[in-house]
C-alpha cells in the first residue's frame, strides 16, 4: 500500500492527462495575470503559458515530444477552430454592403509590406539568404507559410518558428502600435491584427471586440491567399533584380 513515487511519476509524465492539465493550468495562470494587469497586451497569456510550461519541462527533464503527445489534443482543436472562423466572417459579410474594394487594397498593401519589410530588415542585419527567404511568409498561418517557404527555397522548420513568434509579437505590440498611430476604428484594428499576426493576433482581437474579431478572421483567410500568390511573384522579381 505504499506506491513507489518513482513509478507513479513515470506513469504521469507519459500520460496525456498531465500534459493537458499542465497546458490548461498554465494558460489560466497567463490569463489571470493578463486580467489582473488590466489587460496589458504585453502580458500575453500565450507567452506566459509557454514560459511557465517551458520552465516546467526544463525542471522535470521531460522532453518536448513527450509533452506534445498529450498536448496534441489541444493542438488538434486548431483545425475545427479555423473552420469555425467562417461564422464571424459570414456574419460580417451579410451585414457588409460596401467597402470590399478598400479591404482588397489594405490586404494587398499589408501582405506586401509584411514580406518586403521582413526581407529588407533581415538583409540589413546581414542574415543568410536561406534565413531571409524563410522570413518572407511569416505573417500567414503556419501550414501556408511553410508551403511558401519550401517553394522559394527557405527552411520550413525555421518558418514555422518565425510564424508563431510573429503571432505573439503582433498580439503583444500590435495594440500599442495601433493606439500610437490613432487607429481607432474596430474594423481597421482587427484587419491589421489578422494580416500582420494571423491566428494569434486574431485570437486577441476576438477577445477584445466582436467587430475587430470578425475583420481579423476575414484577414487570416484572405492574407493566406494573397501572400501565397504575391510572394512567388515578388521572389521572381527579386531574383531578376539581383541577377541583372
Amino acid at each position: 500500500m505504499n506506491p513507489d513515487f518513482g513509478e507513479v511519476w513515470v506513469y504521469l509524465s507519459a500520460s496525456p492527462l498531465t500534459a493537458l492539465t499542465t497546458t490548461l493550468v498554465a494558460y489560466l495562470m497567463g490569463d489571470w495575470i493578463y486580467q489582473k494587469s488590466g489587460k496589458m497586451p504585453i502580458l500575453n497569456p500565450v507567452l506566459i503559458a509557454v514560459i511557465v510550461i517551458t520552465i516546467g519541462l526544463t525542471v522535470t527533464g521531460i522532453d518536448y515530444w513527450t509533452y506534445f503527445e498529450g498536448a496534441q489534443f489541444v493542438h488538434f482543436l486548431l483545425g475545427p477552430a479555423t473552420v469555425a472562423l467562417a461564422i464571424p466572417v459570414a456574419r460580417l459579410l451579410r451585414t457588409m454592403r460596401s467597402g470590399f474594394g478598400t479591404l482588397a487594397v489594405a490586404l494587398v498593401l499589408g501582405s506586401a509590406t509584411a514580406a518586403i519589410s521582413a526581407v529588407f530588415i533581415a538583409e540589413l542585419l546581414q542574415a543568410s539568404e536561406q534565413t531571409v527567404l524563410s522570413l518572407a511568409p511569416k505573417s500567414v498561418t503556419t501550414p501556408i507559410a511553410m508551403g511558401i517557404a519550401e517553394r522559394i527555397g527557405g527552411l520550413p522548420s525555421l518558418t514555422a518558428v518565425c510564424v508563431i513568434m510573429t503571432g505573439i509579437i503582433g498580439a503583444m505590440l500590435g495594440p500599442y502600435v495601433l493606439n500610437l498611430a490613432r487607429i481607432t476604428s474596430w474594423d481597421a484594428r482587427g484587419f491589421a491584427m489578422g494580416v500582420a499576426a494571423h491566428g494569434i493576433g486574431t485570437a486577441r482581437a476576438i477577445q477584445i471586440n466582436q467587430e475587430a474579431g470578425a475583420f481579423a478572421s476575414l484577414a487570416i483567410g484572405l492574407n493566406g491567399l494573397a501572400t501565397a500568390t504575391l510572394i512567388p511573384i515578388l521572389y521572381s522579381l527579386w531574383q531578376w533584380w539581383g541577377g541583372s
Binding site: T23, P45, V50, T54, Y64, Y67, F68, A71, V74, L78, G79, T82, V83, A84, A86, I87, P88, V89, A90, R94, G99, T102, A106, L107, L109, T113, A114, S117, A118, I121, A122, L125, A127, S128, T131, L135, K138, T141, I144, I148, A160, V161, G167, I169, L173, G174, L178, I183, S185, D187, A188, M193, V195, A197, I200, T202, I206, Q207, G221, L225
Partner: protein, 116 residues
C-alpha cells in the same frame, strides 16, 4: 454542441480531402472554412447551435496556440547564430505591417464616408 462540432469536423475533413486530391498549397482547415462560409452565405442565416459552439471555441482560440508555442521554444536552436537578425526582422516587420494595414484601411474608410 455535438451536431455543430460534427459539422465543423466534417468541413475540415472535406477540406483535407480537397487539399490532398488537388495537391493544393492551401491547408485543409482553411478550405473547410471556405466551404462552411459558402454554405452559410447560401443559407442566408447562421444556425444558432453553430453560432454558440463557434463562439465557445473561438473565445479560447489563444489557448490552442500554447502547444505550438512551447514547440517554438524547444526548437529555438533553428535560429542559430542569426537569432538577432531574425528577431529584429520579426519585430520590425510586424510593427510596420500592423501600422500600414490599419492606417490604409482607416484612411480609405474615412475617405469613403466623407464622400457619401
Amino acid at each position: 454542441m455535438l451536431i455543430a462540432l460534427t459539422q465543423l469536423l466534417f468541413c475540415q475533413l472535406m477540406g483535407e480531402v480537397i487539399a490532398r486530391a488537388f495537391d493544393l498549397a492551401i491547408p485543409g482547415p482553411v478550405i473547410g472554412m471556405s466551404l462552411l462560409l459558402v454554405a452559410l452565405l447560401y443559407r442566408q442565416s447562421i444556425p444558432e447551435h453553430l453560432e454558440t459552439t463557434a463562439e465557445g471555441i473561438l473565445s479560447h482560440l489563444s489557448l490552442l496556440f500554447v502547444p505550438a508555442g512551447v514547440g517554438v521554444v524547444a526548437h529555438l536552436t533553428v535560429l542559430g547564430n542569426e537569432w538577432q537578425a531574425i528577431i529584429g526582422s520579426l519585430i520590425g516587420s510586424t510593427v510596420i505591417t500592423v501600422l500600414v494595414t490599419g492606417w490604409v484601411l482607416q484612411r480609405l474608410h474615412r475617405g469613403a464616408s466623407h464622400e457619401s
